[in-house]
């Protein structure tokens, strides 16, 4: 009854059918017909009912506020399993059958997949959408427009800017400096190992965490020039990050515990792990997984590659997209804008679902200015707000991330058990991704 195996085999089953749907989704070229379907964004006559599927807990509270204020645009919310655990596949099936909900929650790393399969409505011409761009944190807007002129395919909802959680008490007791660069981080790793503990773990399956580190180093895994995709999992920055962690693994300075496992929680709880470079939502993972360490943690910016630099990565975050087949794109876009920009909604989503807003104004919510008891009363969200602003806007996700993650994770697992290296894993992921793209007739640049 291992729940993780259960979840993973479920994901594998889903991934299996994903291929089917991808094949039947035709040979859309992931390209340039965007402007064509943006022309007709007019309000509908009479009352409108919208459906919206996502998996944010507490979303109902925000929607209740909207429904009360907008009797003519009533929204029904359905909660599904997390995206890669089934909801994305449901969306693809429903798109195929022309039964998709009006609005769907889609993580940034999966938006290109839906774009390539022609599942998203371009809402750029819906009133207020283009103007809303400047309200959002730079990189998120880049994600939902794909850098195309006159195109907006989703409204950013939340983000996962990254920083470093660390055990302030243990660092202080041991007299170890809190690292600000990755070099210092490696030195601290050795010092902590000498104390009998580990600085952190290297998660074999959280490839998107690793992508966040590459993102910080200003690496790019994918690019799309409108014609074809460039896949580059092994560029200089990716190589640098992979070699760095490979070094820590080779020296036995990091644990190989799987992230979010019971074992991992226990290691956090008992002080065997001292840091975790993670996203803003990780604060909740620590406080609930390691309850005995309340008050001992603090947050500092991510270690930097260049001393004195200020770069951050991002791990996670979602957008809300209007799905193809919606009869009311105008109303759907208005709702999505309200949901992700209005203070009342952002407050409700932050309280109910712990969402970290994607708007710059949202980062100033009163709730995000307070000190947290678990983190020794530090106002930790200030650190993440800085990280959000320091995230490279031009990182692009590929159109088959579920597959890329799986293939790289396989290699990571092997590297952790001493077969091959992290770089080998990226190389294998690169090749598998290119052949997957080609098998789906998605053009790949040489």
């Amino acid at each position: 009854m291992n729940r993780h195996t259960l979840a993973r085999s479920g994901a594998a089953a889903v991934a299996g059918t994903l291929l089917l749907a991808a094949c039947s989704g035709g040979t859309d070229d992931g390209g340039s017909d965007g402007a064509a379907d943006a022309s007709a964004c007019e309000p509908s006559d009479g009352p409108v009912e919208l459906t919206y599927t996502g998996w944010v807990p507490g979303m109902e509270d925000a929607i209740a506020l909207w429904n009360e204020a907008n009797p003519d645009i009533q929204v029904t919310y359905n909660t599904g399993p997390a995206g890669n655990a089934g909801t994305y596949q449901d969306f693809f099936n429903q798109l195929e059958a022309d039964q998709a909900p009006d609005l769907g929650q889609i993580e940034y790393d999966t938006l290109p997949n839906f774009r390539v399969q022609d599942g998203l409505v371009n809402i750029a011409d819906c009133a207020g959408v283009m103007d809303a761009g400047e309200q959002f944190v730079d990189w998120t807007w880049q994600q939902v427009t794909f850098g195309e002129e006159g195109s907006v395919y989703a409204i950013p909802q939340d983000t996962g800017p990254m920083a470093m959680f660390y055990r302030a008490d243990l660092f202080e007791e041991a007299g170890i400096e809190v690292p600000t660069t990755w070099d210092e981080y490696a030195e601290a790793a050795q010092a902590i190992r000498d104390e009998g503990a580990y600085i952190t773990h290297f998660p074999r399956t959280d490839v998107n965490w690793f992508a966040g580190l590459v993102w910080q180093a200003e690496g790019r895994w994918f690019e799309n020039d409108g014609e074809a995709w460039t896949v580059d999992l092994t560029g200089p920055q990716s190589t640098q990050v992979a070699d760095y962690w490979q070094g820590l693994i080779d020296d036995g300075l990091v644990k190989d515990t799987a992230g979010f496992s019971d074992e991992w929680n226990n290691e956090l709880n008992t002080g065997e792990l001292w840091t975790w470079v993670s996203a803003v939502w990780g604060s909740n993972s620590i406080s609930s997984g390691a309850p005995d360490t309340a008050g001992d943690w603090a947050v500092a910016p991510m270690p930097q590659w260049e001393p004195g630099a200020n770069a951050a990565g991002n791990w996670g975050g979602s957008s809300v997209a209007v799905l193809q087949g919606s009869e009311h794109p105008y109303e759907a876009a208005q709702f999505a804008l309200w949901l992700n920009t209005s203070e009342e909604s952002l407050t409700a989503l932050n309280q109910g679902g712990g969402l970290y807003p994607a708007t710059t104004a949202g980062l100033e919510l009163p709730a995000l200015k307070e000190g947290l008891e678990f983190y020794g009363d530090q106002a930790i969200f200030d650190v993440f707000a800085d990280a959000a602003a320091a995230t490279d806007p031009s990182f692009t996700w590929g159109p088959t991330m579920a597959q890329t993650y799986n293939d790289v994770a396989d290699g990571f697992g092997a590297a952790l058990s001493g077969q091959g290296t992290l770089l080998d894993a990226l190389q294998a992921g690169q090749e598998a991704t290119i052949s997957t793209l080609e098998s789906q007739s998605i053009p790949v640049a040489e």
Binding site: R3, A7, A21
Partner: protein, 300 residues
């Protein structure tokens, strides 16, 4: 026939048979060791689940998995049944409807179909039976997507029907019913019923069903467990949380534990509570199994 031989050893009916070949103690020992190993293999996870359900969130990660820590079962149950407005109870109810009613009607359909194939001679009988037998080979998972497209063509996705209707069909049940009907319902008896003026339907319900009872219970249990555990079909069909069966609900919760770590408790206790109806169904129906076997003995 396989089901007959399997059920025989089930109860304490495996009484010493004086005419039987004398068992060697050695082979007996080996058999016990193997059975013991399998019993452990199946029971340890359930034991783990039972133990884990009683732990608080903090102790769940920090104490040994196979033994108790402080007893928090009632708190956990309260949390489970009140989270998100008590949606778990609804999921449990849905699963009982899908599996209970589905298995009942499914058993009726399968037994009538199998009985017809087993006791009546008509043209195309074997062809029909072979087609149905072919259905046994098709995994239900492979049918989920085509079913989804069919149901969306008639606008029935995301309704009770979309999960309920496909659950009624059980090629394996038809197969079992045919085999069992052929073996346990004597033609002479049907002949006698006809002579006494009983219609075919009446004969089926008053005479044949009784003779086939052990097979029906088996089909019912198989169907019940299959529907209860069927996860992929509801995953594909349903988007309204209120229609979820308990398996899908737990899966959805489990997929959210990264964002809401508190849900782990609910997932574990929920999984534990979810196996209770299955255990009850098995324990409750076991005696019919045995009773039916004895009834079968009369026909000889």
């Amino acid at each position: 026939m396989s089901i007959l031989t399997r059920t025989e050893g089930y109860g304490p009916t495996a009484a010493p048979d004086s005419r039987g070949v004398r068992e060697r103690p050695m082979s007996r020992l080996v058999a016990f060791v193997i059975m013991g190993a399998f019993t452990l293999y199946f029971l340890v996870p359930i034991w783990w689940l039972a133990v884990a359900s009683t732990k608080s969130r903090g102790q769940f990660a920090s104490t040994a998995g196979l033994w108790f820590a402080d007893f928090h079962l009632w708190d956990n149950l309260t949390y489970l049944f009140t989270y998100d407005g008590g949606v778990y109870l609804r999921w449990l109810g849905n699963a009982v409807i899908y599996a209970g009613v589905g298995a009942l009607l499914g058993t009726l359909l399968a037994s009538m179909c199998g009985y017809a194939l087993g006791k009546y001679v008509f043209r195309g009988r074997n062809l029909l039976f072979n087609v149905i037998l072919g259905g046994v080979l098709v995994p239900v998972t492979a049918l989920a997507l085509p079913l989804f497209l069919i149901f969306s063509a008639v606008d029935l996705t995301n309704t009770y029907w979309s999960v309920f209707l496909p659950s009624l069909v059980s090629p394996f049940g038809v197969y079992l019913a045919r085999i069992y009907a052929a073996a346990s319902v004597p033609d002479e008896l049907l002949e006698a019923a006809r002579l006494d003026g009983s219609g075919e339907v009446r004969t089926f319900f008053t005479v044949s069903v009784r003779l086939m009872a052990p097979a029906l219970v088996t089909i019912f249990l198989f169907q019940f467990v299959t529907i209860w555990n069927n996860f992929f079909l509801p995953l594909v069909m349903l988007s309204d949380e209120k229609l979820y069966p308990v398996t899908l609900g737990l899966y959805a919760w489990n997929s959210q534990t990264n964002a809401v770590p508190e849900l782990r408790t609910a997932v574990i206790v929920g999984a534990f509570v979810a196996i209770v109806p299955l255990i009850l169904a098995f324990l409750g129906l076991q005696r019919f199994w045995r009773g039916g076997l004895a009834a079968g003995g009369v026909k000889a």
